[in-house]
Amino acid sequence: MMDHSPFDHTPDPILGEALRETLAVGDDSGFVWHVLERLRAAEPWWEILGDWARPGVAAALVLTAAGGFLLGRVIGPERFGLAAGEPGPAVGLEVTVLLTEGGPPDVETLLGDGSR
């Protein structure tokens, strides 16, 4: 007969021992090694890309800046319709006037062609 009733709410050590032996799983160290190997092998592609992302973005920015600079040097300002040494288009006069005048701009200035 059982020493432990099925109604007992405490573990039965003898039953536990019998089941443990029935379910004996052998050496754990090989199992642990396999799990960790699978972990290393299963590193997902987005994590590998993630490792590359930060230096990749930095390198792309440097290359873009350097490429832009070299392109500007090779093509020259005349390709943009400017003679060498000539300044580019002036910043809008109207904006300058608006910013430097003391009072609020009048309606003619805002809605007109900018001439005073």
């Binding site: 003898i14 642990v32 396999h34």
Partner: protein, 188 residues
């Protein structure tokens, strides 16, 4: 290997931050339980180890969802149980389960004559006859020492269902257990 005093919550937090050594410590601590649980569900040692490995890998991926305020064991075992169930579903499609000749031995014989392997075979056969949830419940309760509430969390069933499952499983294992006790007593 890390000191045993490092809590599971700390190890899980380290592992979640990418510390593979911390995760290795968790695997070492829980490998026996995870392997036994998978074997209880699948009843096949090779499939069980594969499922337990699947479970650990899934746990690694979902460590961010683990609440360090709760025990790690039931959380992990829930994942391992899911991995074993997945593998069992795939296996069902693949093949029909077969009992090994040893496991098919049902009669343990008189306790005085029964040797250890015969008794093991009797337990294996009795376990196979149990519904999966009952055998999982009794292994988690009587082997791993989890409470009914923790087992309920692993199996996602009410606590009363776990109590009932443990009761029915114990009753079903009465005969092989009596033989086992007799053998233990004869061994002195």
């Amino acid at each position: 290997m890390r000191n045993d005093r490092v809590s599971e919550g700390e190890l899980a937090a380290l592992a979640n931050a990418g510390d593979a050594e911390a995760f290795g410590e968790l695997v070492t601590r829980y490998a026996p339980q995870a392997r036994r649980l998978a074997r209880t569900i699948l009843l096949d040692p090779d499939d069980a180890d594969d499922a337990a490995q699947d479970g650990f890998l899934a746990a690694w991926r979902h460590l961010g969802r683990y609440d360090p305020g709760r025990p790690f064991g039931p959380w992990l075992l829930r994942i391992v149980a899911n991995a074993a169930a997945d593998r069992r579903r795939r296996r069902r499609v693949r093949q029909t389960e077969e009992l090994s000749p040893v496991a098919a031995t049902r009669d343990p014989g008189p306790a005085a004559e029964a040797d250890r392997s015969t008794l093991r075979a009797a337990f294996t056969a009795a376990l196979r006859d149990l519904p999966e949830r009952q055998r999982t419940a009794i292994v988690l309760f009587d082997v791993e020492g989890y409470s009914h509430a923790e087992i309920a969390a692993v199996l996602r069933v009410p606590e009363g269902t776990v109590r009932s499952d443990v009761f029915h499983a114990r009753r079903a294992l009465r005969e092989p257990l009596a033989a086992w006790r007799g053998w233990k007593e004869s061994e002195g």
